[in-house]
């Protein structure tokens, strides 16, 4: 059974990197360019796992995670946040918003797939 991963990132480079790593590991990938778009794609594709950036226009990662968590249909979907920060405050804020786990950029495909395995049933 192919799992679907939704990646939400305003950077095309990062979306491409994620796609390459995830598709290479056999995941089906759907993409969104910001939090608002992420919510739209979410309802269309019902992903198994969400990977989201934090700094994005329109709706940032925190807002996106909170919106997913208050929706009864989607709140059980694991969400991994992408972060370049060593700043623990940002990670904590993402966790308070409801992030399941995190991936520190730069990541390699193994690290990414590993993190997904840890949160995905």
């Amino acid at each position: 059974m192919t799992r679907t991963v939704l990646t939400v990132d305003d950077s095309r480079t990062m979306r491409d990197m994620l796609r390459m790593a995830l598709a290479g590991a056999g995941f089906n990938v759907v993409e969104a360019v910001d939090g608002e778009h992420g919510l739209e794609v979410l309802s269309a594709h019902r992903p198994d796992v969400i990977i989201t950036d934090i700094n994005m226009p329109k709706l940032d990662g925190f807002g996106f995670i909170e919106a997913v968590r208050v929706d009864d249909d989607y709140r059980a979907i694991p969400i991994l946040v992408l972060t370049t920060e060593s700043d623990p405050a940002k990670k904590d804020r993402a966790r308070r918003a409801g992030a399941t786990g995190w991936i520190v950029k730069p990541f390699n495909p193994e690290k990414l797939v590993d993190a997904i395995r840890r949160v995905a049933a």
């Binding site: 360019v33 778009h37 019902r46 969400i79 370049t84 520190v104 840890r118 995905a120 049933a121």
Partner: protein, 767 residues
């Protein structure tokens, strides 16, 4: 790795866009539009560049972007005020960042001294109390490099997945820990058995974490035996579906150390009470022994488990998994332990999987396909051939005298329309906004201004005006030149401006617009304008024109395009590089373009550059002149008419004018101008095309007959033969014959130089 290389290409494209966003945002801030969104966008631009650069291991770029980002973060959180001075610094930093990007791309070298100084300056802005320059850079580097190490995931699977260390995205420094003999003995006594007790809190489930998955992860470290203490689960009527009641005790046999076990729980840190002890023992002294044996990491255990769990009074053995890990997960009664949310992902998965298969979901309205430009160029060439072919077909059919109302003729009409639509659509693929060229200009203006000691602000307009890619690529040089010229020669020094009652900061405007099927680029300044007296005297002094020549203001202004003309008193570092406006003019003309200047003393000058939208096709009027077939660009034609004798008035010994409504327009015999014939037939015998030049001047071109309107594919005369005055290009007509495309402006200006006006030969040669 091809795919990675492709992403790298994408990354650099994105960098260009992000750098443009960055600069645009900073300029908006400079104009006082520093609302939260702008600052955030500016921050995001640098942040994204850093993120991508990190992925490709572009260290110098990452380091500089990090310092930059840190300051921007402080600005957006209002820790550092966005003063005008700061924004100027940020703009300069954006230039250095752009250099770093170019360097990472292999397109140049970063001046390390400049970069280091800039980084130190940014650092000083971020924290005014910080130590000055030399010390500043170092801690930043450390701070960033520490970041990746924070990711523990690799360490977790490092052992049993036999991961190649080289693949890891960071340096992992192995650390040797010496365990003293006593501790080693204790360790031997308890073997490789660990006891892990987990009591999830409701927050763990709220974040979509899952006990069953934690157990599965533990099972990857070695055989586990999990025991559920369900004693805390209240009767159903008192059960809070969102609360967590269960406690798990896991016996784990593993070669891994405690760090590896602890990392399993990294994501749920704080969301569950966790106790990890060495050995089977649940007794406090066993735990203590484990603590001792654990050596260094030991205090963490105590810290992480503030409420040590009192373990099962009535343990319920749910499952044992001596070897295989997976069964634990499958049979672990997750629904009991985990309230409502847990089963959802499983249920959701099949639906999602069935529905989607590698569907790319682009952003709303920004779906993008990447195509090799060569394929498009080939397509455009083919469509050009198609247009010629279609025209030939129409002509052949016409020769057979087929009635226009016949099915064949109507079908041909439809074919022509389709061909035209295909052509427009294909050309639209290659059309791009001039933004890509414009966005390089603010930096140029900053640099030129600082080199010349001028204060200049660039205002841009019409950046989204679209032009064929082939034209865009060749816009950069002339625009660069015109801007340099506008700042260096156009704008006055701040002191001069103040003395003249002007704002010390000069404004340079760069605009793009579509006008009659061409793209027009205007570069204007609010400087002193052209000093006509000086230009005139210089031109005479340099022998470019004869002293007795009477010139209009416009003609004097345009003298600056003559080869060998330079108005600067001293050759400045900026414009005086041996490349004058004459070179600009020639390169523009080579593109079928034109450049002109208008100037008002004390108020500034405007350079106007006009180019065809595409270098591929043209709508033209096919005419006969002295037995030759010519094409006149439709864009230049105002109307065509057959002159009556009373409308033609002689002017001077040779020339004549045509009365068109209430004005007189010079009559130009195209055949005479191009040298097809020695004497003009009376204009009343031919047809007159009323044309308008780039500068708005009108003329009446006399031809023998009009064949009709046609779209023609432009074939460059320069490339295939050489430039001919009065001729813009050539084309192949429907019958296979070659026809020349008239350069209307050139024809008008050629005629102006004819007698009776005494013009020096050098001037003619220059044009």
């Amino acid at each position: 790795m091809d795919e990675l290389e492709a992403i790298k290409v994408t990354f650099f494209q994105e960098c260009e866009e992000l750098l443009a966003d960055l600069e645009g945002g900073l300029l908006a801030m400079q104009d006082g539009n520093d609302d939260g969104d702008t600052v955030n966008a500016v921050f995001r631009a640098v942040h994204s560049i850093k993120g991508g650069a990190g992925a490709f291991g572009l260290e110098p770029l990452v380091r500089f972007a990090h310092v930059f980002e840190t300051l921007l973060d402080a600005v957006r959180s209002n820790e550092v005020p966005a003063t005008p001075d700061l924004v100027v610094t940020l703009l300069r930093a954006s230039d250095v960042l752009a250099d770093h990007v170019s360097s990472a791309r292999g397109l140049g070298v970063v001046d390390e001294a400049v970069s280091a100084a800039m980084a130190a300056e940014l650092k000083a802005c971020t924290d005014p109390n910080a130590a000055p320059a030399p010390v500043a850079a170092a801690p930043v580097v450390e701070a960033f490099e520490a970041a990746p190490v924070a990711a523990p995931a690799d360490a977790l699977i490092g052992a049993d997945d036999a991961l190649d260390d080289d693949d890891l995205g960071f340096d992992f420094q192995p650390m040797t820990i010496t365990i003293d003999e006593q501790a080693a003995d204790v360790a031997a006594a308890v073997g490789n058995v660990w006891t892990v007790s987990i009591r999830p809190k409701s927050d763990l489930y709220r974040k979509a974490n899952e006990t069953a998955l934690l157990l599965r992860e533990l099972a990857r470290l070695g055989p586990i035996e999990a025991t559920l203490d369900a004693s805390a689960i209240p009767p159903l009527d008192q059960l809070d579906a969102e609360a967590a009641y269960a406690t798990w005790t896991v016996r784990l046999e593993t070669e891994e150390d405690e760090t590896a076990i602890r990392e399993v729980f990294e994501f749920v840190d704080g969301d569950c009470d966790l106790e990890i002890t060495r050995g089977e023992g649940l007794a406090p002294d066993a735990a203590l022994a484990a603590l001792l044996a654990g050596d260094a990491p030991a205090p963490a255990v105590v810290e992480a488990a503030p409420e040590p769990v009192v373990l099962a009074e009535a343990p319920v053995v749910v499952e044992t998994a001596p070897v295989a890990a997976a069964p634990v997960v499958e049979t672990a009664p997750a629904p009991v332990a985990a309230p409502a949310p847990a089963p959802a992902p499983v249920a959701a998965a099949p639906a999602a999987a069935a529905k989607t298969q590698q569907i790319d979901v682009p952003g709303p309205g920004q779906s993008v396909i990447r195509v090799d430009p060569e394929r498009i160029d080939r397509l455009i060439d083919l469509v050009g051939e198609l247009v010629i072919n279609q025209a030939m077909l129409a002509q052949r059919v016409g020769e057979y005298g087929i009635a226009p109302s016949s099915n064949l003729a109507m079908g041909l009409d439809e074919l022509e329309q389709l061909t035209r639509e295909i052509q427009d659509s294909v050309m639209a693929i290659r059309a791009q906004p001039v933004k890509s060229v414009f966005q390089r200009m603010p930096r140029l203006v900053r640099e030129v201004a600082s080199m010349t000691g001028k204060q200049a602000r660039l205002v841009m307009d019409g950046e989204n005006t679209e032009v064929d890619k082939t034209v865009i690529e060749r816009l950069s040089d002339p625009i660069t030149h015109m801007l340099r010229n506008a700042i260096d020669h156009g704008l006055e020094s701040p002191e001069e401006r103040k003395a003249a009652g002007k704002n010390p900061e000069g404004v340079v405007r760069l605009a793009a617009l579509h006008r009659s099927g061409r793209i027009v680029i205007e570069v204007s300044d609010d400087g002193k304008g052209i000093n006509r007296e000086r230009v005139h005297s210089i031109a005479i002094k340099k022998g470019l024109i004869s002293p007795e020549l009477q010139l209009t203001d416009e003609e004097i202004d345009n003298l600056i395009f003559l080869p060998g003309f330079s108005t600067a008193d001293k050759i400045s570092d900026v414009s005086g590089r041996g490349v004058g406006m004459d070179v600009v003019k020639r390169s523009v003309q080579a593109l079928g373009g034109r450049i002109s200047i208008t100037s008002r003393p004390g108020q500034g000058s405007t350079f106007t550059l006009s180019l065809p939208l595409t270098l591929a096709v043209l709508d033209g009027m096919v005419v006969d002149v002295a037995g030759e077939t010519l094409v006149v660009p439709l864009a230049a034609i105002v109307e065509s008419l057959r002159p009556k004798p009373e409308e033609v008035r002689p002017l001077g010994p040779v020339g004549s004018v045509l009365a068109v409504r209430d004005s007189f327009v010079p009559l130009i015999d195209v055949g005479l101008t191009l040298g097809y014939r020695e004497a003009s037939p009376p204009p009343t015998e031919g047809v007159v095309l009323l044309v308008e030049g780039e500068d708005g001047s009108r003329a009446a071109l006399v031809a023998d007959a009009i064949h009709g309107q046609r779209q023609v594919v432009i074939k460059s005369l320069e490339q295939n033969y050489q430039q001919v005055d009065g001729v813009a290009a050539a084309t192949i007509l429907g019958d296979g014959r070659v026809a020349l495309i008239l350069d209307v402006d050139a024809v008008i200006s050629l005629r102006r130089r004819e007698p009776p006006r005494p013009v020096e030969p050098t001037l003619i040669a220059a044009e």
